[in-house]
Amino acid sequence: MLQTEAIQARRGGFTRRKFIKGVVAAGATASVSGYLFRGSGIFAPMLTAQGAVERLVTLTVNGQQRRVDVPKYETLAMTLRYQLGLTGTKLGCDRAECGACTVLLDGVTHYGCSILTHSVQGREVTTIEGLEQDGELHPVQQAVMDEGGFQCAFCAPGFAMSMVGMLEKNPNPTREEAAVLLSGNLCRCGDYDKILNTAMRAAELSRSRA
Amino acid sequence: MEFLRRALNPWGENVPIGVAWDLIWAAVIIGAVFVVVHALLVPKKLPAGEIDESEAKGLPDRIQRHKPGARGFHWTMSATMFALLITAFFPVIGIQFPWVTIHWIAGVLLILTVLYHIYHVFAKQDIRNMWIGRRDMKEGSLGLQAALRRPVQRPRAGKYPVDQKMFHHAATLATLGAVVTGVLMMFRIDNFLLPQNTYMFSDAAWGWIYVIHGVSGIALIFLVIAHVYFAIRPEKRWMTWSMINGWITRDRYLENHDPERWTVPEGEGAGEVEGAAAGGTGQPALSDRA
């Protein structure tokens, strides 16, 4: 994605005030029986210091605006999994090392485990659950079905998101290029051969659909 | 205020790792306060003491107080001491430069001078000069009263006044503390003298070694401040000069020293060459009385 686009995309979310505030928008506040860090317990009374961000944020996830009460130290993967119930985004290492948590921010692949939820306001978040369009599988998902891709598949959602990101960047990759664009994801079953077949098939399908 | 810096070692045990650096400032402040208070309370000039000319006979006009070796030791030691304190504490307070090598080399020099000094005092000097005895106590209390403008007969000291002896012993303690721990610490840095042996002691033991090194160093900050202050005090300058040129005048001797406690044997005057050389420099010291 081009520099300028990136800036545009981000500007979208921000009111040009001195400090970014959560955009107050329509959409129900997500169930704050939200799990891991509901911020209850000893940290509940943490006050918001002058100029600091507010906990209540609005996220755009898979095209929907979701209002969530998110502790400032919570990562996107945790918010998705434990507040928005989007458990397709997996945690394999929680250290930006395995790619199981890969999501798209404005169409670009990111490790969901290593970015603050508060940092993605105003950006379009896409998770594995957002690929299917009214019952029709995304070309990447279809490719997986066609190629019988993945073994234990814990890495599959992350790889799928990386493939979607790959197609955005390079709709017609060679096997080598595909491998480089997928090199941010680990598969311990070692199913890389089938994964590359899937990636090539996905490119083929998306070209034919476009 | 924290006196120690502590940390969890790899096994999660809480061990000391060094002295709290805030103590540097504590030492500086205490030193400054001491200087100011002392400067305000104690008069720059003390009434000249009586001189009993009868004691004077047979004495040269110049009496040697410090042998060249002693002076050499004093000034090398002070040089290394300054080098050590600067390389130790400037980086901590934010004035940064590659200090480690200078520091340990200065430390090694200090050790050599100390060794020389020890040899020198035993071989060439009378260590009793440094002992603090009952008479030193008396001298001390009288001296204190005199300093506080009490109407007392200012006592005469032995070769070294008791306050000088006390400083010396404090400095000795601090220096030895820093030197001994410093040598051990060299096993933890890369140097060509000692092999690296990081795990020679337990972490806790190492921690205390670093603490002692720090405390000694910080103590030396205070001692140096006090020492320099006294060295430049007008009424003590003649002693400072004696550390430069080695001798004091006969009058100074008779006025401040008790010949019974510091007997100057015949011919124990300052050597002619030295005297001539020192003559000029001696003047200000002489002129400040009369």
Binding site: Q3, A6, I7, R10, F14, R16, K18, F19, I20, F43, M46, T48, A49, G51, A52, V53, P71, K72, Y73, T75, D94, R95, A96, E97, G99, T102, V108, T109, H110, Y111, S114, I115, L116, H118, S119, S162, G165, S183, G184 | R5, A7, L8, N9, P10, G12, N14, I17, G18, P91, F97, P98, V100, R188, I189, D190, Q196, T198, D203, W206, G207
Partner: protein, 333 residues
């Protein structure tokens, strides 16, 4: 206190949109504050609960720190918050400073390059695993280097520039920037200050707890690529255990100006052999006026490793450094 990992301790979060606000916040919080750029180094520290700032200043919204533009006097200005992907794939960088594009493109993985910033890659902390384990070593304010003992596992550690600490600089872009003679523009409440890339990195002999000149309150705002080294011959190589998500065992970056088959001028920098990117001045002067040949490279390699001091497990770095310096001259294109 029992050791706990993989949970970020709570902190207060600030998201300024202007550099001024950012540096003001940074000064306000001093060493209790933490600047968050891409976060890929940051979150490791936070999740290990070793670094526990009270306030995190997230630069995500500071647009003036992003983007690549033409420099005032030729060259190129790159905002510190520009993503590594944007650096690696920017047409200007690729055409005019391919050395930097290559280096940025070899960092970790696509996701990390998408999120990680050039500034972050430059100022990231060392990866010494003793230090990263939260052990009280010199660099962590303690009184020992666990990596330099006779039994330490120090395959990744340094062969030069050590002073009590033997950790190495992990950055891929740092050597490239030094080789391009880039300038680092540092902002703080007392205005901007510019450093030559070579002086921006400091060794443990000067400050064992920092890897760069940055102190609390200092913000690396942008990187200025100077015109002179535009379009020079270049070479970059990063030797690592894995082809993705790995730090260099040794990396080399070179800029060569060659006229009539002779090296007129050169900047050769090696990283991961010392606590900072090592610029090989002796080599640079030795190869001036010579052809960029195997022989010159061989000679350069030998000079480069003079004075190297190895630890128990990193002797191979001497050979590796020698060979990479050779390549950086022989194979520069």
């Amino acid at each position: 206190m029992a050791v706990m990992r993989d949970m970020i301790p709570p902190f207060e979060l600030y998201q300024p949109t202007e550099v001024d606000d950012a540096v003001r916040l940074m000064r306000q919080h001093g060493d209790k504050g933490w600047v968050l750029a891409g976060g890929l180094d940051t979150f490791d520290w936070f999740k290990d609960r070793i670094k526990r700032p009270e306030a995190v200043i997230d630069l995500v919204g500071v647009e003036e720190l992003r983007g690549i533009s033409d420099g005032a006097d030729g060259g190129l200005d790159i905002g510190a918050m520009t993503s590594l992907t944007d650096v690696a794939e920017n047409a200007d960088v690729m055409n005019r400073y391919p050395l930097l594009a290559e280096a940025a493109g070899l960092v970790a993985t696509p996701q990390i390059r998408n999120q990680g910033t050039l500034g972050g890659n430059i100022v990231q902390d060392t990866r010494c695993w003793y230090y990263r384990s939260g052990w009280p070593c010199y660099r962590a304010g303690g009184n020992v280097c666990y990596a330099a003992t006779s039994q330490s596992m120090n395959r990744e550690h340094c062969i030069m520039g050590a002073s009590r600490c033997v950790a190495v600089s992990p950055s891929d872009t740092a050597p490239a920037l030094v080789a391009l003679d880039a300038e680092m523009v540092v902002a703080s409440t007392s205005g901007e200050r510019t450093w030559a890339a070579a002086d921006f990195f400091i060794g443990p002999d000067i400050d064992i707890e920092r890897m760069t000149v940055l102190k609390p309150g200092d913000l690396l705002a942008r990187i200025v690529l100077p015109a002179p080294w535009e379009g020079a011959r270049w070479y970059f190589e990063k030797v690592r255990d894995r082809k993705a998500w790995d730090f260099s065992l040794v990396s080399v970056a070179s800029s060569l100006r060659v006229e009539a088959g002779m090296i007129q001028d050169a900047r050769i920098v090696v990283n991961s052999v010392a606590p900072y990117p090592v610029r090989l001045r002796a080599v640079e002067s030795a190869i001036r006026g010579r052809a960029p040949s195997e022989e010159t490279g061989q000679m350069a390699g030998e000079i480069a490793v003079e004075g190297a001091r190895t630890l128990r497990h990193n002797d191979y770095k001497v050979a590796l450094m020698r060979n990479l310096v050779k390549r950086s001259i022989r194979d520069a294109a």
